[in-house]
């Protein structure tokens, strides 16, 4: 009985090893086939190097010129950058990632800070917040019909930068929440840093958000 068990185990082990060997062979064969199939036309090494140098220049030409902003939504930071150099690091608040569903309809909002490339479209002083529908629904209130009932002053700080689609970089009353993901998608900045940004960052500046 014990001997039969050992033989069975040995057979299983041999089958396993054979499968491993077959799998290994199939995997390596695939690599060898692709490595040998030239995807480029036969070109000389100097030609290829020249082509690569050209490609690198074309990629570099796509990067933002002058000062630009990089926003890290995971770390809640704005990096003011020029080329590879970081000129300033600012602690901010970005989107909470929370979801709000309209109990009376089919609408849904996801409060993420939008990722990708944006640019500063407009700079404002003493900005006024025109509350969107979600601001009322979140508070369990009815959405007002009159425009003037949507306007709220003094909540966006002294300055704001518009990024488009209602997203902004603006000030905050909740400075103790800087460094946390708490917003509805906008980027909140402390007063001192916001003033400095306003004085140094022109309209048209690229903003890369990830």
């Amino acid at each position: 009985m014990k001997k039969k068990m050992l033989v069975a185990l040995l057979i299983v082990f041999i089958v396993f090893l054979a499968l491993e060997a077959c799998g290994f062979y199939l995997s390596r064969r695939g690599s060898a086939l692709t490595e040998s199939s030239g995807t480029e036309d036969a070109r000389s090494l100097p030609e290829l190097k020249a082509k690569n140098s050209g490609l690198k220049k074309r990629i570099a030409s796509l990067s933002p010129k002058g000062t630009y902003l990089v926003i890290d939504t995971a770390k809640n930071r704005i990096y003011v950058k020029k080329g590879e150099q970081t000129l300033k690091e600012i602690v901010v608040s970005t989107g909470s990632g929370s979801v709000l569903k309209d109990p009376k309809g089919n609408r849904e909002w996801v409060f993420d800070t939008p990722r990708g490339e944006h640019s500063i479209r407009l700079k404002k002083t003493n900005p006024v917040w025109t509350k969107p529908d979600w601001a009322f629904i979140e508070e369990g209130e009815d959405v007002p019909k009159s425009f003037k009932d949507r306007v709220e002053e003094g909540v966006l700080g002294d300055y704001a930068f518009e990024l488009g689609d209602g997203y902004m970089i603006h000030g905050t009353l909740y400075t103790r929440l800087l460094g946390r993901n708490v917003t509805h998608g906008c980027v909140r900045v402390g007063d001192k840093d916001l003033k400095e940004l306003y004085e140094t960052i022109p309209v048209g500046t690229k903003v890369l958000i990830f």
Partner: protein, 222 residues
């Protein structure tokens, strides 16, 4: 002298073959670089964020417009299966090994209830635990599936005895199961590539945070 004359042709052909082999390797690595750069150019033209999983250099780069926004070090790489071309690969899905991070659903009724509570109960002084999806909620062990069945398994760098034991078992299991999966997929006639990445916890979380489904990325195989 006679010995040298006899050996000369052998040494000559050996030197020629070594030189041509090195030149071919050089050519192929430059050709590969060309393909990577062409792929990156196609992504850098769009206003998007993309990842370059450079397994050859053991790094993951988060990029936009050709600029490195964040660089992450890969501690260890395992590669198995069909070779990966350098053309941009869309991410099909990402899934946590244990618990998937969940978005918080805002309850409008709760906001109304809080308004009716006395101030002391609604705002505990000093406590501001936010209900949000943050970096710390992201998993460190997860799978990424890219187009054409490229599976990337990300695991945190092991620290401590138990963690190392788990990592060793996980890595052994990964290597033992790959050949069988290769045969299975070969029989089914499907492509199959499996990549194992060991990374620092923060970097692993940062990738999960920033990598969006359907986004295009580049994988440079070792």
């Amino acid at each position: 002298m006679n010995y040298f004359l006899r050996l000369f042709p052998i040494l000559f052909f050996l030197a020629i073959s070594l030189y041509s082999d090195a030149a071919a390797q050089d050519n192929s690595s430059v050709e590969r670089e060309t393909l990577v750069l062409e792929s990156e150019l196609s992504l850098a033209k769009s206003p998007i964020i993309y990842f370059v999983f450079d397994l050859k250099e053991k790094e993951v780069l988060l990029k936009s417009r050709g600029l490195v926004l964040r660089g992450m070090k890969v501690e260890d790489v395992g590669f198995w299966g069909d070779p990966v071309g350098v053309s941009p690969r869309p991410l099909v899905r990402k899934s946590a090994l244990f618990k998937e991070p969940e978005r918080v659903n805002i309850d409008p009724n709760k906001a109304k209830e809080e308004e009716t509570l006395p101030p002391a109960a609604s705002a505990a002084p000093g406590a501001f635990d936010v209900e949000a999806l943050e970096l710390k909620d992201m998993p460190t062990s997860y799978y990424l599936e890219f187009y054409e069945r490229i599976f990337v398994s990300v695991r945190p760098k092991s620290v401590g005895f138990v963690s190392r034991l788990y990592a060793a078992a996980s890595f052994t299991g990964w290597y033992a199961s790959r050949p069988i999966l290769t045969i299975w997929n070969s029989i089914k006639g499907r492509p199959f590539t499996s990549i194992y990445l060991e990374m620092g916890e923060d970097d692993a979380r940062a990738i999960y945070w920033a990598l969006v489904e359907k986004s295009e990325n580049i994988i440079v195989q070792p």
